[in-house]
Amino acid sequence: MEWSTFRTSAIVAAVGVGLPVLVHGQTVDATALTLLAGRQDPRDGTVHTVVPAYEEIWLSARDVDIPGVHGTRIVVSGWGMVAGGTTLDDRNVTGDVDVAFIEGKLFDRHLGVRLGRQLVASGVARNLQLDGADVVALAPAGIRVQIYGGVPVPPRFGYAHGQGVIGGRLSWRPSPIFEGGLSFVDILDDGLVDRQEAGVDARAVVTEEVTLTALAAFSILEQRISEASLRALWQPLRNLEVTAEAARTAPDLFVSRASIFSVFAEEAREEGGATVYFRPWARLRLWGDGFVLHDDSGTGGRAGLRASLAVDGADMTQIGVQGRVLALPASRYVQGRIYGLHRFGRDVTATLDCDAVWLDPRINGENLSLTFAATVGWDFAPGWRGLVSGLTGRTPLLEWRTEAMAKLVYNFDYRAKKVTP
């Protein structure tokens, strides 16, 4: 049995055995999603039809009574798939666990512990998915120490990158309006360093209207900054928000240091610009952004505009238009999109989405991608939703693309400790 499969199986078994025991008589929020899709998958001129059926479950159990532990929670999400047709990785039956952990706070909430499969986002972790432990200790004066470690989770369609990871963050949060931190991460891959970075981050609410966010990550191995960003968010009114941002990345440092490709380049990419959100009228929302990009290939830019209008006061009908441009020295695209949503009564909702993209240079000999999508959803019982969707159009990879999907969702919360006056 492969090590990664063993780990996933162990997590599934632990959840299967431990969950019913631990959450008995507690509060459980859960969602089950069943999805049956049919899609065309073009591969080098041949169109394969794939019909996958997914079962996905999200589950969160809280108020689990464990003596001496506060806020114990068990969180699980996982899925299984059975597919007809030829899938990309030749696996017609598969599944995985996205998240499965138990967490709680010990010593009068001064020590938080999370064990299992989880995501770590803080500092330079860069949303690391790992099987392991994450421990956060709260010290006086708002000082917080986080240490995490384990084994990185192998991605779908791929092999494991990294056999071990350790990282941490030391942060100071004297009040809710400021937090600053120093962090590090070290990922090993087959005895070689995959990524070894240290970073500094900060977030400060300067006034009630202005928040500053900054991050700098430094590759210890390459002695270069891999990522740095500075952002100012200004919210002068509840309905107006302006963000100014400048960022610099070294894209080659996002390639594993254990890859042969890590020795060929030292790139730099800069980006600066602003985004605006304005809601001049309760029914109308406007978004806009514009950025200048610069890298070793030259200077380019990206910009976008979007407007969304609730046609009636009851928000039964909504329409939106969107435009977006990405212009690089060697390539560009222009996107135009119109979408709409209408509610038929309380329970039935329908949507339409038309998307056109003009590509330059041509991709696969085509410079136009045109897609139309529609959905109809029906909340047929409390907590239940059924939905069918279809997508059709022409794209650079398919002369005529057609997809269909049926979805069934069930949300519920179960409270054994129901409050009964």
């Binding site: 591969r43 390639v255 996107q335 991608s369 897609t371 939905l387």
Partner: protein
């Protein structure tokens, strides 16, 4: 195959378990009863009626809404107002006699134990309840959050964003319009920086399953496929992303690589016969790819965008680059000019990958 079947069987069993759970679906709260009890606190206080005389049940209330006796039962009122009942003067207490009903406690939105607090304040209820409710008065008399934060312990919890110590769920509580918490605008584009510096804030409202929908490397399918009805959401890979993905990647390859590794690209490019190890490989490169100075020369392209090379050619240390760029090979030194400034020669012996070229 058996392992995969076992996984799916477990997932299906989990689904069945969830479906069969004795569930209570989310429902909207029932309309509040029209009848209310006239309980003028001010008059009671002036007549020196102690809080405990009526609200004896709070001594045993460990969580808000769990002790029915926290509100006085009718018998308690009748200890003083028996004559009104005897005179059938129901409206003395009930505002809607036609729909007279027993008072019920609302579910507490805050975790709070009266039992613990009443000891700490030495039975002085006014420490928290500085204003008392009067019949039909429009003034909100529920203690404010600032009253709770007056206590050092809760002030510290607030400073450390330990919201869930008091708020079991924040879903029903409107947050202040602080820019700190604003999710307006294109929040998808900027949420990452907030999460890196304040992951604890996010966790107050969002389970990791919420993050995992997009960020887990193990997801079943794209979030745009799972939620096609969310036409207003700022999803990244909506509609025909595949058609424009090469331009997006050229514009910000680091952004792609925050979620997708080399192998993610290679798995699909291999199926497209774009990788050198594919069954029937074809050459997607321009004509001048191997001609120095042609403008399309691969060395300059690699310096500009090495991740694009890696998206097809990363077959481990012995990828096809090494056949020319090894020591003594015809490809020459592939390292950038500043390479030696931060890589000592001694690294060759300590780094196993260097030995692929440096024998």
């Amino acid at each position: 195959m058996r392992k995969a079947l076992a996984l799916v069987a477990l997932a299906a069993a989990g689904g069945a378990l969830v479906s069969c759970w004795p569930a209570s679906p989310r429902t909207t709260p029932a309309d509040p009863p029209s009848d209310r009890i006239r309980a003028p606190h001010e008059i009671h206080a002036k007549n020196d009626v102690k809080c405990i005389a009526c609200h004896e049940g709070v001594f045993d209330e460990t969580a808000l809404g769990t002790a029915p006796e926290a509100l006085p039962p009718e018998d308690t009122c009748l200890q003083c107002h028996k004559e009104q009942k005897e005179k059938n003067n129901c409206s003395f207490c009930h505002t809607d006699v036609q729909h007279a009903a027993k008072r019920t406690l609302a579910e507490g939105l805050v975790k709070m134990s009266h039992q613990k607090h009443i000891e700490r304040v030495k039975e002085d209820c006014s420490t928290c309840h500085q204003r008392l409710p009067e019949p039909f008065a429009a003034v909100d008399t529920v203690p404010k959050m600032s009253d709770c934060l007056g206590c050092h312990e809760h002030a510290q919890e607030y400073a450390q964003t330990q919201c869930t110590g008091c708020h079991p769920t924040l879903n029903r509580i409107a947050l202040k319009p602080l820019s700190d918490f604003s999710h307006q605008g294109n929040y998808i584009a900027r949420h990452g920086a907030d999460a890196r510096s304040s992951a604890g804030n996010c966790a107050q409202c969002h389970d990791q399953t919420y993050c995992a929908d997009c960020h887990a490397r193990t997801v079943a399918t794209r979030v745009e496929v799972k939620f096609p009805e969310s036409v207003d959401a700022s999803f990244i890979h909506r509609n025909d992303f595949l058609g424009r993905h090469s331009i997006e990647a050229a514009g910000n390859e680091a952004s792609c690589r925050k979620c997708h590794g080399n192998d993610f690209c290679t798995s699909c490019h291999q199926a497209q016969n774009l990788t050198p190890t594919a069954q029937n490989p074809r050459d997607p490169h321009p004509l001048g790819w191997t001609i120095p100075g042609s403008g399309d020369f691969h060395g300059e392209a690699a310096r500009r965008d090495i991740a694009s090379c890696a998206s097809c050619h990363d077959q481990g240390p012995r990828s096809n680059c090494v056949s020319c760029h090894r020591v003594g090979g015809i490809g020459g030194n592939p390292h950038p000019a500043s390479w030696l400034s931060h890589h000592d020669h001694s690294e060759i012996r300590s780094n196993g990958m260097c030995t692929t070229c440096h024998f």
